[in-house]
């Protein structure tokens, strides 16, 4: 299972774009990259998933370079409600065996 490394914490202000990068140097050929968001007292929830290049949905974008050894979650125009912990997971099948790590605590300030 690929090990991931993320910054422990990040601060931002409302309305700014936030980019959180995850390193996964030993990602396997069939692994996908998935990001989750967790609010206090709740379970993590799925944000976005990708395999290569760029993926965009209604809440975020995911950028994956050609070598796939890292990925960047981009949150456009964050609001206070985006304050949460963000986890990057790398897995193929049996995704729940992935190691969550401590995630990145994003704090959005007014």
């Amino acid at each position: 299972l690929a090990k991931t490394t993320q910054p422990i914490s990040m601060d931002s202000y409302e309305g700014q774009e936030v980019n959180i990068t995850c390193s996964h140097n030993n990602i396997a050929t069939n692994d996908y990259i998935t990001w989750y968001q967790q609010f206090p007292s709740q379970g993590p929830r799925f944000i976005i998933q990708g395999y290569k290049t760029k993926v965009t949905n209604e809440v975020a974008s995911l950028f994956i370079p050609a070598d796939r050894k890292s990925s960047t979650l981009s949150l456009p125009r964050v609001s206070l409600s985006d304050t949460a912990v963000y986890y990057c997971l790398v897995a193929n099948t049996n995704a729940g065996k992935s190691t969550f790590g401590d995630g990145t605590t994003l704090t959005v300030k007014p």
């Binding site: 709740q42 379970g43 993590p44 929830r45 049996n94 190691t99 969550f100």
Partner: protein, 120 residues
């Protein structure tokens, strides 16, 4: 919504007593997982199941056992609770995800609301 229900939501118990937490799903998913989360840390896998009566250990399985006699229920048991098992416990299922742009995706996890367990 993957239809995951955890019970109880909160539990206070004494050291040495047995405790069972229940995870119930309504959508017939094959894989189910139990995690614990301690303050300021990520989730750590305790046990998982890949089918009825098929279970395996995670990274922090000592002191825990699981059972899955029906597809929809995955039980986590602390045979003799200790204070170090005070934690928030999350259950999850995994679901195959079809990615955007026509590409097949992998799996994504859906989590229950958690059980806050305090062992005094």
């Amino acid at each position: 919504d993957a239809g995951i229900t955890q019970s109880p939501r909160h539990k206070v118990t004494e050291t040495g007593t047995p405790v069972t937490l229940r995870c119930h799903q309504t959508e017939n998913h094959r894989y189910m997982y139990w995690y614990r989360q301690d303050p300021g840390h990520g989730l750590r896998l305790i046990h998982y199941s890949y089918g009825v009566k098929d279970t395996d250990k995670g990274e922090v399985s000592d002191g825990y056992s699981v059972s899955r006699s029906k597809t929809e229920d995955f039980l986590l048991t602390l045979e003799s609770a200790t204070s170090s098992q005070t934690s928030v416990y999350f259950c999850a299922i995994s679901e195959r995800f079809t990615g955007t742009g026509g590409a097949d995706g992998n799996e994504k996890l859906f989590f229950g609301s958690g059980t806050q367990l305090s062992v005094l």
